[in-house]
Symmetry: C2
Subunit: 375 residues, 2 copies
């Protein structure tokens, strides 16, 4: 069990820039983690992610435990080796988010659900989520939590917090108990707790304290960006962050829109993940310095220029909007990859710009710029 | 109008190895041309084709004239520039093969057909096919021909030969008439004639003579591998080749299976194209030195080895059969690209092996090896 530390190199208000130090090495924060649900970021391969300079990739426990099976990933050397010898960091979510979207049978022991692949029944408990994630073998595990959609009645949010707390306690115990066995097979994982509490700042603060008391290796704020407004989200996020250790990583789950990123960095968040940039790319919506560009629009048919004039990504270096629009409009699979490369490159650079802004003490300027374009 | 020549460096029986010299440079033959129907080889980009070392890529006139439109390709700088600054060679088919599969209204003037994209009516004539291919701007144009499926009644095959001959005459005249205008805009294209005649060796020989008499820059044999047996195909192919100029390129359209390639190289063919390796890849069928491997088979789920032990392609260098099978079985788009890279790499190397075999005078050995595995 490796407590991850943030080496803070600069702060700007509550925002910080630095490096997360891990048994594998380190990675810079703030950091956006592309989502490789089933062991691949959609339409990309591991070499693409290296070329993009993505320091951390997220994979999905729910999907990998069903296909190909966590035991298969383990037998093929664990997730780093499975996806083609990835030297960067990997994080697996707990599977809870997907399981709870399937309306599982939940009891205090865990959640029973049916596979979306073949309808077979499976059960995930806090302890089982630890085991499964050990088999998958990412650098960072997440605890199994209960994540209600918002808006939700107070009682639902409070019940979710209580169950998440009880499960966190069990998950931490199981993780600690398994540390030696994992180390024996060369696996030095970290485990993050997850703070719930909906948009209730008091509940968020209380749950953050209780989660921190369990002594996790890092902390996530979950259950946000699930239907609430940004005006409701940010105070709840801020309330949680006040009660999380300053020298450990803080991860805002499921947020990856430009405004959400700058706002959350300003509050002290280090890590992000989101399917937004990759999903938008597959639908032809490009992230650019001047806002969203819908490549499906016929106005781009004869446009010889790149998606974004100032973008250094391989797609912008080589292909015109006219060509990319063509590939997209005739359904060529090549489009998904080239457009995903651009969107991820753009978002990774936005996060790099937040790092630089924190270092130069001008995050407020970047925030204003991003809000002017994306707000 | 640039008469293309084959600089023959070695022969082995009727087979030859050498280089086709063109205004753009040269490329080695025998040569397999991957099919980039709509301006992209499915799931690959132009950088992938460079990495694979594909000297020539084929694109499809029918598809490009409808989407994005040949005028759009021209306005974006022509096909080489359109697809991202491709320095290699490009060939466009005439569109005839696709048009005739749509059961068009054919008269002696040309063929009228409906777009598969939006049902709109279009007309392709021998002259129009020359113009459209000039707008697209590949290095090599093909004449519009009539290509009946086999088996077909003698009368149908003979009518196709006669109409193809009349159209070839008109296409050549239109191409020659347009040469100066093309050169004025920096486009030094070549035009290939196409020999038809079904599986009738006499008809093939006769049509080869008549096509050669029109003085094309190179010659294709079309209308084979469209339903007939290999035993019927090879004599017809051989009969045509006897009457084509030995110092100009000879292209067998639509053939790209391993046996078809070695057999046709043995008869003196220089160029091949086929969707087989790319289509098989997308369905998980891998070409390997020991034959076809169906990656969908559950036996590969825990296999840590590469698709082909001796393959130097980027896919085999990095990813296991277990991982590739997983991507394929959950429908990850990444699979199509990685598997296509392998199959094209394998087939391009098979063709390279035919070149080496001709140089060393042991094509018979390679042919026997390929027949033993693939026959």
């Amino acid at each position: 069990m490796s407590r991850l530390t943030v080496e803070v190199e600069a702060t700007d208000g509550a925002a910080r820039a630095g490096r997360v130090v891990t048994p594998r090495g380190s990675f810079p924060v703030p950091c956006f983690m592309p989502v490789g649900t089933r062991g691949a970021v959609k339409a990309l391969d591991t070499a693409d992610l290296e070329a993009l300079g993505a320091p951390v990739v997220l994979a999905n426990t729910y999907h990998l435990m069903l296909r190909p099976g966590a035991d298969v990933v383990r037998s093929l050397g664990g997730l780093h080796r499975f996806i083609g010898g990835w030297d960067g960091h990997l994080l697996t979510d707990s599977g809870g988010f997907q399981v709870f979207s399937l309306q599982p049978d939940v009891d205090d022991g865990g959640a029973t659900f049916r596979s979306t692949y073949d309808g077979s029944r499976h059960r995930l408990t806090p302890e089982r989520a630890v085991e499964v994630q050990a088999d998958i073998g990412a650098d960072i595990q997440m605890v199994l939590d209960v994540c209600p959609g918002l808006p939700a009645p107070d009682a639902v949010v409070r019940d979710a917090v209580e169950r998440t707390s009880r499960w966190a306690d069990r998950a931490r115990a199981a993780f600690v108990a398994g540390s030696e066995a994992r180390l024996d097979r060369g696996l030095d994982q970290a485990q993050f707790g997850i703070v719930q509490g909906g948009v209730d700042a008091g509940l968020r603060a209380d749950h953050a304290r209780r989660t921190a008391a369990l002594g996790f290796d890092g902390y996530a704020v979950g259950g946000l960006s699930v239907g609430e407004s940004r005006g409701d989200m940010l105070p709840a996020l801020g309330a949680a962050l006040e009660h999380l250790p300053v020298d450990q990583p803080r991860y805002l789950m499921g947020v990856g829109d430009p405004v959400g990123i700058v706002e959350a960095v300003a509050l002290g968040i280090d890590l992000f993940d989101c399917v937004l940039p990759t999903r938008l790319a597959r639908h032809g919506t490009m992230l650019t310095d001047t806002g969203r560009v819908n490549l499906r629009n016929a106005r781009w048919a004869r446009d010889a220029g790149p998606v974004d004039d100032t973008c250094p990504c391989p797609t912008c270096a080589r292909w015109s909007k006219g060509y990319l629009r063509h590939l997209l409009s005739v359904g060529e699979p090549t489009a998904a990859r080239l457009l995903t490369v651009h969107n991820l490159s753009w978002l990774l650079r936005l996060v790099e710009r937040t790092r630089q802004a924190v270092r130069h003490g001008n995050l407020a300027n970047l925030r204003a710029d991003v809000l002017a374009v994306w707000g």
